[in-house]
């Protein structure tokens, strides 16, 4: 329902057939709430150029916490004018309102009425609909002759609570700014922000990147003063049309080396499937450091140990940035006997090297180098032995004659994790593992669940 439709006398709630009858050349589109929310979120992200605290107020509102920040844009009125101007260029109409409490601001924006002498008076003049109560309660209030928020607020709160519930009282108190109404910001404010505004929009990504490098150098100085190093960095390029391009990188060791940071950003940029579209240009570039850790001033070690560690960390960061953090892994041991769960592969950028136990001296390898998950079925052609491993099996279209074998090593399921696992027969299947070597010297780890069950190969030894 746009402005033209309203001017033609259409209203929400009117049937489509009726509307078509009145205006034959009507253009109707299906409502798409998901696209609406998506657009609202993108607008919210664009608004972090004004304040870090931006909250969504669905279906069509945004709440900006401009406390203490409005003077940077020349005061509240100038800031509001700036936002209206920017959104008008994108073809949107805004109904802005500033108030001391977020609920009051959104109510005034939605139910804009005659301006009052001051903010409190204006809030009191709002219709009861601004309380956003249930329809029944709203009608009841109107029937009782209470038309405005001020009317309701002048009654004793106890009677309001008794008649309409505690929510009504909370709504009134929030609207009047007497009760706290917490905002849920879309993003938490980062610890460190460096930004550069341009008088004229910049249409070249290369230039925006050069500015980002300068910001990284500034951030490095500031981090050095704080004796910190960043673990995560986020570059935000604000387009003039209100959209934001974000690039995020992370490092495995805290760092403040601007060159290293810029190399990671370049990797991320090169790895994008779509190149960054500057649109009509960027007018603000920002570098945020959302996560930082203590990092003392460093000195190069004589042996070069520290240097090689840093180089390795940089390699891990670079590969993780380009190929994906879930692809560069470190193995961490887990306290379990189940072979599939005995290790956890964690992203190397966030997991430090783990300490693994040593093997018992003098033993041959008891666990395979490679493990199949899920285990692979093998065919045992001879008569199934009730005890011991098969003498010959078929796996991947080849026969293997078992020459050497050891077992069984029985690995039971974790019955204590199962409901009723302590009762006989409910503990889950038990596996009998054998280490076998075939005639050509290849070593396999095979198992079966019981005397009459199928055989599986679970791993291969070196």
């Amino acid at each position: 329902m746009d402005r033209t439709a309203q001017a033609l006398g259409l209203a929400i709630g009117l049937g489509l057939a009726d509307a078509r009858a009145r205006i034959p050349d009507l253009l109707a589109y299906d409502a798409d709430p998901h696209a609406d929310i998506d657009w609202l979120e993108r607008l919210a992200d664009g608004c972090i150029r004004y304040t870090p605290n931006v909250a969504l107020d669905p279906p069509e509102g945004l709440i900006l916490d401009i406390a203490g920040g409005a003077h940077l844009f020349g005061g509240e009125a100038a800031l509001v004018a700036m936002i209206e101007d920017r959104l008008a260029r994108a073809g949107m109409t805004v109904r802005p309102a500033c108030a001391d409490a977020p609920d009051a601001a959104q109510a005034m924006a939605r139910f804009q009425c005659l301006p009052g002498a001051d903010e409190a008076a204006a809030v009191r003049r709002l219709p009861v609909a601004a309380l956003r109560l249930e329809e029944e309660s709203e009608t009841a209030l109107k029937r009782a002759g209470l038309k405005t928020v001020g009317d309701v607020a002048s009654r004793p709160m106890a009677t309001i609570a008794a008649r309409f519930g505690a929510e009504a009282v909370t709504a009134i108190r929030r609207l009047l700014g007497e009760a706290e109404s917490p905002l849920t910001p879309r993003r938490t404010a980062p610890a460190l922000v460096e930004e550069r505004r341009f008088a004229e929009p910049v249409a070249k990504t290369d230039f925006a990147f050069a500015v980002l490098a300068e910001l990284a150098a500034d951030a490095a100085l500031e981090l050095e003063e704080l004796k910190c190093g960043g673990r995560r960095f986020e570059a935000q390029f604000f387009r003039t049309d209100g959209l934001v391009v974000r690039l995020r990188v992370e490092t495995s060791l805290p760092t403040r080396d601007p060159k290293a940071i810029m190399r990671l950003f370049q990797e991320r940029l090169d790895g994008l499937s779509d190149p960054v579209d500057p649109g009509f240009g960027f007018d603000l570039v920002r570098l945020c450091v959302p996560q930082s850790e203590p990092l003392a001033a460093s000195q190069l070690a004589l042996e070069g140990g520290a240097v090689s560690e840093t180089q390795m960390a940089e390699l891990v960061d670079r590969l993780s940035t380009r190929i994906g953090r879930g692809r560069i892994l470190r193995l961490h041991p887990q306290d379990t006997h189940i072979p599939e769960q005995v290790q956890l592969a964690l992203p190397a950028v966030e997991a430090p090297p783990a300490a693994w136990p040593e093997a018992a001296a003098g033993e041959p390898p008891l666990r395979p180098l490679h493990l199949f998950d899920p285990p692979q079925l093998i065919l045992v052609e001879d008569e199934q032995p009730t005890e011991g491993p098969p003498s010959r099996f078929r796996w991947r279209r080849a026969f293997h004659d078992v020459i050497l074998s050891e077992g069984p090593e029985r690995i039971a399921a974790e019955w204590w994790r199962r409901k009723g696992g302590h009762e006989a027969g409910k503990g889950g299947p038990t596996r009998d593992y054998y280490r076998v070597e075939d005639a050509r010297g290849r070593r396999y780890w095979i198992f079966r669940h019981g005397p009459k069950a199928d055989w599986f190969v679970h791993g291969v030894f070196a």
Partner: protein
């Protein structure tokens, strides 16, 4: 006085370590500990080079991977060990199993595992990794003969290794040997191990063949056994001698007959 003497000796030890580290960096070869192979190679595998390990059939892939990891463990001093492979390799050959690495004497804590979506990404990442001088050793696992892996790609990798001094072991699983810039080329397969008590499979053993070598003759074959506890390769004891001895032993101690006692 005593304190200053002890601190002086500590300093001397430290300087000696620095000297040893620089000797390693200068390119002392990676000795295998196996007299025959070290003799032919002139002391061991050259550092800062690419060494290709072929598993000519898929069944020997695990053996080739094991040998590459052992060589990499001997090549790296304190640096990390990087193993790059593809998702397809993980599906075909199985996932890397930490306890299995421990059982081979390879520290999984020092391992950084890279699982790449395809061969092209793998080769690009490999060049980047080998260029990084902070890396202890690199194992690159590649299945078949992908188009991306031509002589140029191989030479690029070799130059990167030469500049950084990183020793790279290139695993070629189920591949046909093709011209490359590698320093040495080996064919690896599993070999029958010496049986332990009660017919249990014994220590890891490989049959290796030196297919090609840049600076010298090739074509030799050896059987090597990995001594996990001393982290070195050794000549396997001739099985003709070993087996009767064991049989005698088990006959002499009937208690140890049917089952080998594991620790």
């Amino acid at each position: 006085m005593g304190e200053s003497v002890s601190s002086l000796s500590a300093l001397k030890q430290r300087i000696a370590r620095v000297g040893a580290a620089s000797a390693v960096a200068a390119g002392a070869p990676v000795a295998l500990g196996h007299a025959g192979i070290d003799g032919v190679l002139g002391g061991g595998l050259a550092r800062g080079k690419i060494h290709e390990l072929f598993a000519l059939v898929a069944e020997d892939a695990a053996s080739a991977a094991g040998l590459a990891l052992m060589l990499a463990t001997r090549a790296r001093q304190t640096g990390a060990l990087l193993w790059l492979r593809t998702e397809a390799a993980e599906r075909r050959g199985g996932r890397v199993h930490g306890p299995g690495l421990v059982d081979l004497g390879i520290d999984p804590g020092a391992l950084v595992l890279g699982v790449m979506p395809d061969e092209l990404t793998l080769l690009k990442a490999a060049v980047d990794a080998v260029r990084c001088a902070g890396l202890g050793a690199a194992v690159i696992e590649c299945w078949g003969n992908p188009r991306a892996l031509d002589l140029t790609a191989s030479r690029r990798l070799a130059i990167a290794a030469e500049q950084s001094g990183v020793t790279a072991l290139f695993l070629r699983m189920e591949a046909v040997p093709a011209p490359s810039a590698a320093e040495t080329r080996w064919a690896v397969s599993a070999a029958a191990s010496a049986a332990l008590d009660a017919n249990a499979p014994g220590q890891t053993r490989f049959a290796v063949e030196l297919l090609r070598r840049r600076a010298g003759p090739a074509g030799m074959r050896w059987q090597v056994e990995w001594d996990r506890d001393r982290q070195t390769f050794r000549d396997p004891a001739p099985s003709g001698l070993m087996v009767p001895l064991l049989r005698d032993g088990s006959a002499a101690h009937p208690a140890a007959g049917a089952v080998r006692r594991t620790a």
